[in-house]
């Protein structure tokens, strides 16, 4: 009978935990970005900054989801 090789639990769990923590950090970062008021003093510049913040928050939420999904699937 062929031996089934499984990862060493502690090391594997550390990866799963690191993925989950990175996911949480990405979510918290997205909230932090959106929580701040800023006034550049110019409508066009303000739109550029607001658009950047929206896209940065989107990227962080996408990372939140992907890291959480990978963590969950590895645990399953």
């Amino acid at each position: 009978m062929q031996a089934v090789h499984r990862p060493e639990p502690t090391s594997f769990d550390a990866v799963v935990t690191a993925l989950a923590r990175s996911s949480t950090a990405a979510l918290e970062a997205s909230h932090e970005l959106l929580a701040h008021y800023n006034d550049t003093g110019d409508a066009s510049t303000q739109r550029a900054v607001d658009t950047l913040i929206d896209h940065a928050a989107d990227a962080l939420r996408a990372l939140t989801d992907s890291l959480a999904d990978i963590s969950s699937e590895l645990q399953a």
């Binding site: 550049t40 066009s44 658009t51």
Partner: protein, 184 residues
């Protein structure tokens, strides 16, 4: 008149820039913890282990997107902090220009220096008129300083917005990639 020539709040810009850089640093720390955990797992499992490779592609894609997002957050924060410094300097230049306008007995109409309406002696009117070019140049110095800073910031924000959009797509692609079964 103080504060009417140059608009914007440099403190709020500096704060949001600082928040971006702090979050960037935190994300880098988490990315490094993940790398350390993966390295530790690889070292324990050995180079021939297929279980070590479980989900590797998805993890690598997410890790790459995480680091790139953190890098660009730091760049965006630095750009906002530079803008905050430029805006603060612009406010100071603006205040000096406004004091000069007032001292010369002139008025500001938007960013244009004008002579006031109303009765004035010919000598007084001539004195004011003679000062307009020099006073206008001070106003222009303040507005040009802030205008250049805004142009730089807008270009940086546009470039980094594209980058964040790409990181979103990369993160989504990692999420959609199926993970092989553990231990298979």
């Amino acid at each position: 008149m103080t504060g009417s020539l140059i608009h914007g709040d440099h403190i709020s810009c500096s704060r949001v820039g600082g928040a971006m850089r702090r979050e960037s640093s935190r994300l880098h720390q988490h990315a490094q913890s993940l790398v350390d955990a993966l390295d530790d797992l690889a070292a324990r499992e050995g180079p021939d282990s297929d279980t070590t490779m479980t989900g590797e592609a998805a993890i690598a894609t997410s890790l790459r997107a995480l680091r790139a997002t953190a890098d660009d957050l730091d760049e965006a924060g630095a750009a906002l902090q530079r803008y905050a410094t430029d805006l603060a300097e612009g406010h100071e230049l603006g205040r000096r220009a406004e004091r000069r306008v007032e001292g010369a007995g002139l008025l500001l109409e938007g960013t244009r220096v004008i002579e006031p309406w109303g009765p004035a002696s010919a000598q007084e009117a001539e004195r004011r008129r003679a000062q307009v070019p020099e006073v206008q140049s001070r106003v222009d110095l303040a507005t040009a300083h802030v205008g250049r800073a805004r142009g730089r910031l807008e270009r940086e924000m546009a470039r980094l917005t594209e980058a964040f959009w790409a990181h979103s797509r990369e993160a989504h692609s990692a999420r959609q990639a199926p993970l092989p079964p553990r231990g298979s």
